[in-house]
Amino acid sequence: MNETAKADWVRSALERHESSLLRYAASITGDAERARDIVQDTFLRMCAEEPAALEGKLTEWLFIVCRNRALDVQRKEKRMTPLTEIDLETRASADPSPALAAETRDTTANALQFLNALPPNQREVIRLKFQSGLSYQEISRVTELSVTNVGFLIHTGIKTLRQKMNTMERSAR
């Protein structure tokens, strides 16, 4: 491939995946600005790679790099003091943050609001599946979970969403 081909390669990838990568990074870090930096880094790294090397697994690779970078950023930002037994007794709730939960309650329901109410791991895989169209296998590689796990998470997430939407419809009637 020549250089123009490579440039095209990168640019087309940008076009195709920019938005979903941004959404994905934002869902991990919770911050759109940081997400932009992360995705920029991802593409810069892509520029360093050979198209042929990533052939067939480009999407997966992009998401992996993006995810790793996002988690690195998350880790740097964390400022919690590790506790001892207190930590155990005040275990983290799997519920979304109260602000999000309040938002969910307050505004009229929207499937995406419901989505944000899901636990983070379900949220992540559902986004990967339905927004970016990754297969179970690919999702499994990106998130480092087993395929069965991924299937289970997606299934549960869909079920919850379905229930929420049903209640919404029922109350709207």
């Binding site: 941004l22 050979e50 042929a52 003091t81 989505l115 927004q131």
Partner: protein, 936 residues
Amino acid sequence: MKFSPDDPKLTAYVLGELDKTEAAAIEQELKNSAELRQAVDEIRATAEFLKTEFATEEKLSLSAQQKQTIAAELPPTNLIPMPKRKIAVFVSISAIAAAVMFILTWGFRFTSTEPKLATNPSPYKYAQNAEQAKRNELAAQKNAEGEKAPGPAVQPADVHNTAQGQEAVQNSTKLAHDGQLLFEMGKLDQAEGKLREAKKLNADSASAQYYLNLIEERRFRRSTADHELVEKQKIVDVAKEWNEPLGRQTLPSSPPLTQNHKVIPPTTTGNRVIVLDETAGVFPSTGNANPTPSQKAEPSLGLEAGLNSPDSASVAAAAGVSVNGSLASVLPSTKSSDYYGLGAGKQDPNVATASGRSHFGSRTTGDLNGRGEAERLAIRKTGAATTTLGSKNAKEYAFGNRVVQLGDDQRGSIVASTRGFYDDGVEDFEVPVAAGKIPTRSLRQKNYDRSGTARYPQYIENAFESVVNAPLSTVSIDVDTASYANVRRFLSQNQMPPRDAVRVEELINYFTYSYPQPQGSDPFSVNMEVAGCPWNKEHRLVRVGLKGKEMAQDKRPPSNFVFLIDVSGSMSPSERLPLIKQALRMLVKKMTENDRIGIVVYAGNAGVVLESTSCVNKEKILEALDRLEAGGSTNGGDGIEKAYALAEENFIKGGVNRVILATDGDFNVGISDQNALVNLIQKKAKSGVFLSALGVGTDNYKDALMQKLADKGNGNYHYLDTLEEAQKVLIQQMNGTLVTIAKDVKIQIEFNPAQVQSYRLIGYEKRIMEAQDFNNDKKDAGEIGAGHTVTALYEIVPTGVDEEEPRPAVDDLKYQSKPRRITPKTDRREPRSDDSNELLTLKLRFKKPDGDTSKLIEFPLHENGKKFSNASTDFRFATAVAGFGMLLKDSEYRGNIGYDQVRELAEGAKGDDKEGYRSEFINLVKKAKSLDRNRE
């Protein structure tokens, strides 16, 4: 194979993830089961829905500048290598896609974990050309090979100069690169394989080594994370096992003999009364001890223990203790040799005071003059039995439920005490005293509420003081409101509140009064009013009102708060920790970006849950709050240390620095000794960080301790029974509760003996100070928050009213003339000629919140003969509340007031009542009347 509608395979099927055989199996099942079909349909519908929702989601994009940065990395059309940049990645510049140049960069900000492979100088002499030549060579090679996977970089050729070596190097590079990709994909094992091969081919391969290290690191991280999780889970399991059978932690209920009245407010003007309870103070006596009805032997008083004189039994009680528990006046004998001069009394030698400290069940030695002031111990007989003294060197006296030995060296020790549950570890007990009407009825023990382990401090109501003997009334200001909320809680549960739970000043201060805002530079205004007294036609009422300067909500200075939250097991009911969480959430939402909040919790241990975080990150703070759950025992001391440390670390000079303590006070681990806790808080208060104590809870609610902590910690204390109360305290009165505008505020009133005969301060028993404490800046006093109002009511008996002169506790001396009571700082011996109709002069001292010297302001009050019905609305309402308080306490000073009268007064003085608190009060009065059928 049977599938349930809840099988994840169904979803996989819908999404096309199953292989052919599995898909076929499912389709077979679908044919047979309508249930499965429906499930599949729903899944499909949801999936489609999600896809469309995502499609309609607003598209995010990189900024133009970011895109520019990326474009800059792409191969330009010329062949010159890109100039080195900190973030530069060297990209293959040759026409050959396969040739990529890797360069190790240090400052490469993206790939903190994944730098590129190193280049080493080529063996060629002229670097640039050489590289170019090399590239061409490689390109040629690549072209020959055809398009393939990434080619090798320029490798350290100095080591392997042979062609074979070079090929090995190239292969190694290739492998290393593969390894890198695999690593990034998370296939650690495969990556490792490739990298090791790469290393084999080229031992110097820095990149291979680098990635191998990374792999190890990642593996290690994973395994520690797993390990941690396992360990944590183990501990949680154990803790669960442990806590479950114990259920909620409660203190054992108090032993049956805790019927003691304790005494005494911490300081005294000398007119304090000791209260004996009915069973104590009855000491057997021998010989000439005479027939006081108190002949009952009380072995439970433990007299035998610790008394070393054989006729210990002869340690007679303060003679004159009667079975009814009325005052044991231990009065001075007329013989001076019987005086135990522990030092000249600074006050009237007729005043007999002694004080000491005792701890539960133990012997303590201490100066009987606890506070370094010499006080005189005086004993006198009431006319009944005389005391007989025990051992040779020491005299033994019994006060209340304690037996005290006084040695000649003027030190005393408590040698015995009743077993009892002392309210707080520190007690001052007093031998009774001088002038003043000695009430008896109110001190008799009645059916106090002893259920549960709730503990209220026991104060004796202020008596009428004679102006001639005690012209100065010195009080520390107080804005706590907890007692009202507590009373409200009891009444709403259809229970009469325990008498001790009622502190009249807190009832009065619960309400806001419309005193005028301060003018001028002082942070508060002083408003006094005098009018008639509804429960005694001859008396008058003086109302002193302080109003702190209002502060608009948005004018609050930058604030540094630390929430110190009790998350022990006892906090789990919904009106405790969940209420606190909600209340604090409301508070957090009102913060601005100038504020910081940290959260410390304490249970069995204490820990910082959230480091001090700017309120720009409200979500983070709310999240941390949300995660709190109750469990474990209560180690308050540790929590207090950590919270203050956190507050001090983030101290904002000139701003608001406060620890907000939320608990039910049930400390039972660590420093559970109340003294120690109070001392700790006292020390911490010196740091300039204030305290707000929010109490919750019911039966094990430690009102006494909470109130003490707030007092010593330069703070205020509120009881949150409902979310509405939390809203009032934290939101509506946020600036009042959280922003202190003046500290160590004390008032001293000097009554004019020409106008006033005697006076009684209604409430504030816990805040009475010594006269000399007024000018002493070292003495801790109360704090006023922005916009707070503080009201104190005095009932005065004007001169000319024919009241029975209260019998002085100390008779006049026969052989010496009675000196005028000398008060420090004012040398007055004779009343000045009275030129005005001033009733009194109020002096007030206060300090700036961060200051150390106090400022003095003074106001006189003139009599104007105003009738009660002409008094202001606020005056009349405050009076109604005071009357209510006295009724609840069954005070003997309530004159002829009753619930109906209180209600009428309140209704007539309701005023605007925008927030409805006054109406709520009227309802409480009605409720109390119906509950209290014993009283009129």
